[in-house]
C-alpha cells in the first residue's frame, strides 16, 4: 500500500478534481512555475496550463473576489492564500461577500469557492506568518471551516470541499505538509469525507481529548506517552471540520470517559474550543466527572525566539502536565 504525505494528498485531490471537472481551477500567488510557497502545486502548471493554474499578483482581496465572481457564474475555483495570516487582507471579500451571498440573495446564488491556506506556527516565522485564525471564520454563518490533521483526511475533505456549493475555508498546517512521520495510506481513487463528520483518531476509556489540525498529531503523541508512563487510556477526537461541527461524536466520547480536554494551537481567549466546551457543558454536564480543561496557545502574538514560540504553542510537555493535573496525578 502506497503512503503519501499530507501535501501530496492535497495536490492529488486537486489534480483529480481538475481532471473530472473543467470548471475547477486554481488561483493564487506563486502557484504556477514556483509551485506555491510550500510546494503544494508543484507540477500542476505542466499538466493543466496557466489558464487553470492562474498565477496572481499580490492582491489577496482580488484573489478572493475573483474566486467569488467566478464561482457565482458557474466555476469551482480553489483560491490559495499563501499564509492564513494574509486572509485578513481579504476579510471583506470573505466575510461580507462570500459568506453572505447565498443567504442574502435569497438562496439562488451559490458560491462554490474553496479558499486553501496554510496556518499554524512552529516554523520560527514569527507573528505575521504563524497564526491560527480559524475562530475568525467559524464565527461567520455561511462559511464552512475545515482543518485536516492527516493525509487521508486532507484528500477526502478537500474533494468534499470542492464539491460543496458554499465557500469553504480549508486550513492546512505547515508542519504536516512534508513530514514523513505523518505519511499515510491514501486511496488512489477519488473519495469523499463528508464535511461535518468527525473522527476518533484513537479509542480510549479514561479521558477524551478534542483537538484540531496539528494538535491532533501532538495529542496522539501525548496519548502514547500517558499510556506507557501512567497507564492512562486517552480517546482522541478530531472534529476535522470546525463548521459544520460534529458535536455528536464529541458528546458521545465525553459520555463514555466523563473527562475532557480541548486542545488548540490558536490563542486561548475567544478560541474555537470555547465553543466546544460551551456545547459540552450544555449537552453533557451530568456526565462530567471533572471540570473541562482547555489547553491553547498563549494570548500573545507568536514570538520569533524558538524558546518563546515553544512556550506559546501547546507543547507535549504542557499538554501532558495539564492532563495529569486534571486527573489528579501530580
Amino acid at each position: 500500500m502506497r503512503k503519501i504525505t499530507y501535501l501530496e494528498a492535497i495536490r492529488e485531490a486537486m489534480q483529480q478534481m481538475m481532471r473530472e471537472d473543467e470548471n475547477v481551477y486554481l488561483l493564487g500567488e506563486d502557484i504556477a512555475e514556483y509551485g506555491g510557497a510550500f510546494g503544494v502545486t508543484v507540477g500542476m502548471l505542466e499538466e493543466f496550463g496557466k489558464e487553470r493554474i492562474r498565477n496572481t499578483p499580490i492582491s489577496e482581496a482580488a484573489i478572493i473576489g475573483v474566486g467569488i465572481g467566478s464561482a457565482l457564474t458557474g466555476m469551482r475555483p480553489i483560491a490559495e492564500i499563501m499564509f492564513s495570516d494574509f486572509m485578513t487582507i481579504a476579510m471583506d471579500q470573505i466575510v461580507n461577500q462570500a459568506a453572505k451571498i447565498r443567504y442574502m440573495f435569497g438562496g439562488k446564488a451559490k458560491v462554490p469557492l474553496v479558499i486553501r491556506t496554510a496556518g499554524g506556527g512552529g516554523t520560527g516565522a514569527a507573528a505575521q506568518h504563524s497564526q491560527s485564525l480559524e475562530a475568525l471564520f467559524t464565527h461567520i454563518p455561511g462559511l464552512k471551516v475545515v482543518m485536516p490533521s492527516c493525509p487521508y483526511d486532507a484528500k477526502g475533505l478537500l474533494i468534499s470541499s470542492i464539491l460543496d456549493d458554499n465557500p469553504v475555508i480549508f486550513i492546512e498546517h505547515k508542519l504536516l505538509y512534508k513530514n514523513k512521520k505523518y505519511m499515510q495510506h491514501v486511496p488512489e481513487e477519488i473519495y469523499r469525507i463528508p464535511l461535518g463528520k468527525g473522527d476518533i483518531k484513537r479509542e480510549g476509556r479514561d479521558i477524551t481529548i478534542v483537538a484540531t489540525s496539528f494538535m491532533v498529531q501532538r495529542s496522539l503523541e501525548v496519548a502514547d506517552i500517558l499510556e506507557s508512563e501512567e497507564g492512562i487510556d486517552c480517546e482522541v477526537v478530531d472534529p476535522r471540520t470546525l463548521r459544520p461541527l460534529d458535536m455528536d461524536i464529541i458528546i458521545s466520547s465525553v459520555k463514555k470517559t466523563g473527562k475532557v480536554v480541548c486542545i488548540e494551537e490558536a490563542c486561548y481567549f475567544g478560541g474555537f474550543m470555547g465553543e466546544v466546551v460551551s456545547q459540552i457543558v450544555e449537552k453533557a454536564f451530568d456526565y462530567l466527572d471533572a471540570p473541562v480543561l482547555r489547553i491553547a496557545g498563549r494570548d500573545c502574538p507568536v514570538p520569533y525566539s524558538l524558546v518563546l514560540e515553544e512556550e506559546m504553542i501547546p507543547s507535549v510537555g504542557r499538554i501532558k502536565k495539564g492532563m495529569l493535573d486534571l486527573l489528579g496525578r501530580f
Binding site: Y25, E51, R54, T56, P57, S59, A61, A62, I64, G65, V66, G67, I68, G69, S70, A71, L72, T73, G74, M75, P77, D92, Q93, N96, Q97, K100, I101, R102, Y103, M104, F105, G106, G107, K108, A109, P141, G142, K144, L195, G196, R243, P244, L245
Partner: protein, 338 residues
C-alpha cells in the same frame, strides 16, 4: 490639470453617426423615467416607514445605468453598488419583485433577506448590489474570468462610485482584469461626493478615468447626464471587451439630486451647485428636450409614458403590500449546516 485619459477617443465617438434608432432612444427615455418614478415612490414609502433600513436614491444619475445597460445584452453580467436600483431596472429587473424586496417580503428578489442594498438575480445576470463600497469590484474580475474561460463573448459591467475608486480593491481589481485581458467594463459613477467628501478633496487626479493609463486600458470621461453619450462610449467598450481586447474604464460625471440617503439634507453642497445640476444636467430633461426638438416624440407621448410607468409602479407597490412576510420557520434555509 490636463486630462491624461484618452479623451481624443471620446471626442471622436461623439461625432460618429451612430445608428441610434428612434425606438432605442424612446426606450432609453422610458427606462430613465421608470427609474426616477420608482425611486421617488421609494422615498415616499421610506418616509411613511413602509420601507426602512438604508435607501440610496439614484435620482439624477439614471442616464449612466440606462446608457450602459442599453449597450449590453440579457446574458451579460452586471455588478452593482449600494446605489443600485437604477442598475437593476436598467438591466430589466421586475419592479414588483424589487419593491417586494424593499418591503422585506417573501416574494422579493432575495425573499426579504437582502433589502435595498443587496438586490440580486443571477438568472438576470445581476450579480448583486453591494453594501460595501468597492466590494463588488473584485467580484466583477471573477465574473470576467468566467466569461473569458467560457469563450462566448459574454461581458461584465461593474458599476462603482468615486468613493470606491479610492479603495484598495479598485487597484487590485483593475490591474488584475488588465493583465488577464478580461471582458469587464468598469463604470465609475462620479457623482462628486463620497457621502460628504467632495471628489476634489478625496482624489488626487482630476479625472478618475486618468487612472486607466496605469492599468493599460482605455479610459473615457463622459457626461453622465447624456444617455446617448454614455451609450456610445459604453458600446465601444463593450465591443472591445467582446473582441477579447480586455477591460475599459469609463468615468461618467454625474450628480445625485438627493443626499446620500433620504434623511441626508446634503448641506455639504452649495445650493447653486444643486440647482445647476437639476436645471442643466437632469437626464430626463436632457433627453426629453432632444427628442422633442428632433420631433422623435411629442408631449403627449411623454405623458403616456409617464401614465404607463405610474401604473406599473402602483402595481408593484400593490404586489409588495399584498405579499406575505417571510415564513419564520424557513429563515435559516440555505444557511443551515450539514
Amino acid at each position: 490639470m490636463k486630462s491624461l485619459s484618452k479623451k481624443e477617443n471620446y471626442d471622436k465617438m461623439t461625432v460618429l453617426n451612430e445608428n441610434l434608432t428612434k425606438e432605442i432612444q424612446v426606450e432609453m427615455l422610458k427606462k430613465i423615467i421608470e427609474i426616477r418614478r420608482f425611486e421617488e415612490r421609494c422615498i415616499q414609502l421610506y418616509q411613511q416607514a413602509k420601507i426602512w433600513g438604508y435607501l440610496h436614491p439614484y435620482i439624477g444619475e439614471e442616464a449612466v445605468a440606462v446608457g450602459v445597460c442599453m449597450a449590453i445584452g440579457v446574458k451579460d453580467y452586471l455588478v452593482s453598488t449600494h446605489r443600485g436600483h437604477g442598475h437593476c431596472i436598467a438591466k430589466g429587473a421586475d419592479l414588483g419583485k424589487m419593491m417586494a424586496e424593499l418591503f422585506g417580503k417573501s416574494t422579493g428578489y432575495c425573499k426579504g433577506r437582502g433589502g435595498s442594498m443587496h438586490i440580486a438575480d443571477t438568472e438576470l445576470g445581476m450579480l448583486g448590489a453591494n453594501g460595501i463600497v468597492g466590494g463588488g469590484i473584485p467580484i466583477s474580475v471573477g465574473a470576467g474570468f468566467s466569461c473569458k474561460m467560457e469563450g462566448k463573448g459574454r461581458v461584465v459591467v461593474c458599476f462603482f462610485g468615486d468613493g470606491a475608486a479610492n479603495n484598495g480593491v479598485f487597484h487590485e481589481s483593475l490591474n488584475m482584469a488588465s493583465i488577464y485581458k478580461l471582458p469587464v467594463i468598469y463604470v465609475c459613477e462620479n457623482n462628486l461626493y463620497a457621502i460628504s467628501m467632495c471628489v476634489k478633496d478625496s482624489t488626487a487626479c482630476e479625472n478618475i478615468a486618468d487612472r486607466s493609463l496605469a492599468y493599460n486600458m482605455p479610459g473615457y470621461t463622459v457626461d453622465g447626464s447624456d444617455v446617448i453619450e454614455v451609450y456610445k462610449i459604453a458600446k465601444k467598450a463593450v465591443e472591445a471587451a467582446r473582441a477579447g481586447k480586455g477591460p475599459s474604464l469609463i468615468e461618467a460625471k454625474t450628480y445625485r439630486f438627493y443626499g446620500h440617503h433620504p434623511n441626508d439634507p446634503a448641506e455639504y453642497r452649495g445650493k447653486k451647485e444643486v440647482e445647476y445640476y437639476k436645471k442643466e444636467k437632469d437626464p430626463i430633461l436632457v433627453l426629453e428636450n432632444r427628442l422633442l426638438k428632433e420631433k422623435v416624440i411629442t408631449r403627449s407621448d411623454i405623458e403616456e409614458i409617464e401614465r404607463d410607468i405610474q401604473k406599473r409602479i402602483d402595481e408593484a407597490v400593490k404586489f409588495a403590500e399584498e405579499s406575505p412576510e417571510p415564513e419564520l420557520e424557513r429563515f435559516l434555509e440555505e444557511i443551515r449546516e450539514a
